[in-house]
């Protein structure tokens, strides 16, 4: 095509577009002055413009990524990651996806978490994470998820761990304040187990930094395991702008996601100061508060409000929500929730002892208002032997399956006694979305792209 011709087409096209659609035909008739070919060319381009819809509206990367998303919902399934054959998706959460996999060397089933949310760009951070993972796996503590292996798959860090059956503590907590607290004994059992796990980790200098009910996993037998130790450190901090932008996006799209994390931050974390194990103690206090009262201690309409509450507000007394709360327990929770780290429990072992004292027969911590509780206390010494035996049995049975340590500690008694009312399911870290939801999401992504792959959803940019 000659440049002059193209120039002509361009001018007529632009001029026609400036006119109302119903005037364009007569305009072209007039402007083309019998040049039928020119008229046809411009008219066909105008028609094409009308048909184009959102053609090329979204960038190519997005189009391609959507294609991949639409059809590759389970793209890791069937792949060999290290020595692990990925079999099915167990769940997906903020930091990555958890798959059921088979260790081809040992022939056992494992859970593998691929941290797809970020790329291991920061080598230092990844090394620190590896160091902590090693420290944690060396603990071999019954209340901490057993990590078998770590590595990187095409730049994505992954963690291989024991496969657990049960549910997140989050699933057991009441969705609304009206629904009430957890049964006292059950809550105390969970609390003691988590405290023991935390204490063991803190002793080795490993801090969790993202303790929340989503990271506490309750097994079918009532044992609790802390998940995702050290993962919080992998989250990018350097890109503050991006972080806040992403947080804002999340807030708009999924308020629960940000609120969920924000609500467990210690004041020093909110301020962006250096944190140590006492931040975990604070988060633990929030979890205690939630378990015992059925309410969140720090609430707000937005993450900012929640953070503000964490910095400034004193939560209402636990006893207000749950009359069975003893002053001793109240005091423990308060001490965990102190704004200043130096006023909290300074060591997690101290916290453990304090919680242990609550359930001692001599302690009057659990209030004596319920007859049932009295009866339990009277019967406790007699039952003790039986519980220990049961605990060992449970641990042995479990160890064969998952390689957990042999002895469950004394603190597990209460938890084991209180059986989980909800039906357990196979799950692991952050199983927040099931497969069908994912398929639905993928379908949505593909459906939105319509007939042509370069069109974007009408609501797009």
């Amino acid at each position: 095509m000659k440049p002059e011709r193209w120039k002509q087409i361009e001018q007529l096209y632009d001029a026609a577009l400036e006119r109302n659609a119903d005037r364009r035909a007569s305009f072209l008739d007039q402007a083309c002055e019998g040049d039928e070919e020119l008229r046809r060319e411009v008219a066909s381009l105008l028609a094409s413009d009308e048909q184009a819809g959102s053609f090329l509206a979204a960038p190519a990367t997005e189009v391609m990524a959507r294609s991949v998303a639409a059809e590759g919902a389970s793209s890791l399934i069937g792949r060999l990651i290290g020595a692990y054959q990925v079999q099915s998706l167990l769940g997906a959460g903020g930091m990555g996806e958890v798959y059921l996999a088979r260790d081809i060397r040992l022939g056992r089933k494992v859970a593998i978490k691929v941290l797809t949310a970020f790329i291991a760009q920061d080598v230092d951070r990844l090394r620190r994470f590896e160091r902590e993972a090693r420290a944690i796996s060396a603990l071999n503590h019954p209340n901490i998820l057993t990590v078998y292996d770590i590595g990187a798959y095409e730049g994505l860090p992954y963690i291989v761990a024991e496969l657990l059956e049960g549910q997140e503590l989050r699933a057991q907590l009441p969705p609304t304040a009206e629904a009430g607290a957890l049964p006292l004994r059950m809550a105390l059992g969970y609390a003691q187990q988590v405290a023991h796990g935390l204490a063991a980790a803190h002793e080795k200098g490993v801090v969790h930094r993202d303790l929340k009910p989503e990271n506490l996993f309750v097994l079918a037998d009532g044992r609790v395991k802390i998940l995702d130790f050290g993962l919080a450190k992998l989250k990018p901090h350097g890109e503050a702008g991006l972080d806040s932008q992403a947080a804002a996006q999340n807030q708009l799209t999924d308020p629960g996601a940000v609120m969920g994390t924000v609500g467990y931050m210690a004041p020093e974390q909110v301020r962006g100061h250096e944190t140590d194990h006492r931040a975990d103690i604070f988060a633990f206090g929030v979890i205690l508060y939630e378990m015992f009262s059925g309410r969140r201690p720090f609430v707000g309409e937005s993450p900012i409000e929640v953070m503000n509450a964490i910095l400034k507000e004193e939560p209402p007394e636990l006893g207000e929500a749950n009359v069975k709360i003893s002053p001793q327990l109240e005091k423990i929770v308060r001490r965990c929730l102190e704004k200043r780290p130096e006023r909290r429990f300074q060591s997690t072992s101290d916290l453990c002892f304090a919680l242990e004292a609550l359930s001692m027969p001599s302690g009057s911590a659990l209030t004596t208002t319920t007859n049932a509780l009295e009866a339990t206390k009277r019967g406790r010494r007699r039952e003790l032997g039986a519980w220990i035996a049961a605990g060992v049995f449970a641990a042995r049975r479990n160890s064969r399956r998952t390689g957990v340590g042999l002895l469950t500690s004394r603190m597990n008694r209460a938890a084991m006694k209180s059986t989980c009312s909800r039906s357990p399911r196979t799950a692991s870290w952050e199983p927040t979305r099931n497969a069908s939801q994912r398929v639905a999401a993928a379908n949505h992504a593909s459906g939105a792209t319509g007939g042509n792959c370069f069109t974007s959803p009408p609501t797009g940019r």
Partner: protein, 193 residues
């Protein structure tokens, strides 16, 4: 994993004709692509539009150290980045198509590409070719599409790269898009030439 600083260096090297740089950049883009795809799979729900833009911007920022670019020629760099994205994405589509046909296996690491359908890939390739034809008629419009569509640049950034006003970009975009859309329609089986 290279830092965004290194990525920027690689991009500049590539724009100076260093083909080896492309080999190092390609897997990074593939990885970003897959990361994005995972983002969509995980987060996409009806009515949640903002996510998209955020992810794209993030992907772009992740790959390039813009601060480093700033004192150099930003407009030129926009062009280089867009050209690179076009090259890699079209290669991705092409390789995927080959893979489906059972040929060319082993040429490129195609793990990441394994999920794109042949049809979509074909559209990418068709667009790339149509863009080549447009370049023969109207180089600026062709470049504009490369910048906006493949480079993911905004109207303003595209204007900056082309050294024209955003208004001009807006006006000229329409014809470019209409022309390309028509070209792609023509290539559909029933359409004929």
């Amino acid at each position: 994993m290279p830092s965004s600083h290194e990525v920027t260096q690689l991009l500049l090297a590539w724009s100076d004709g260093d083909q080896a740089a492309l080999e190092q950049l390609t897997p990074l883009v593939y990885r970003e692509l897959r990361r994005l795809a995972r983002g969509y799979m995980r987060q996409e729900r009806p009515g949640h539009i903002l996510q998209t833009t955020a992810l794209i911007n993030e992907a772009y920022l992740r790959l390039i150290d813009w601060k480093q670019v700033h004192w150099r020629n930003r407009a030129h760099f926009f062009g280089v980045a867009a050209q690179l994205m076009r090259r890699i994405l079209v290669d991705f589509a092409r390789a995927r198509q080959q893979d489906k046909r059972g040929g060319g296996a082993g040429q490129v690491s195609l793990d990441e590409a394994a999920a794109v359908s042949v049809e979509r890939s074909a559209e990418f390739i068709a667009l790339d070719e149509a863009l080549g034809r447009l370049a023969a008629i109207d180089p600026r419009r062709s470049l504009m599409v490369e910048l906006r569509f493949f480079g993911g640049l905004s109207e303003e950034e595209t204007a900056e790269a082309l050294k024209v006003s955003p208004r001009t970009v807006r006006r000229e975009w329409s014809l470019a898009r209409a022309w390309l859309h028509r070209e792609l329609k023509r290539e559909e089986p029933e359409g004929g030439k």
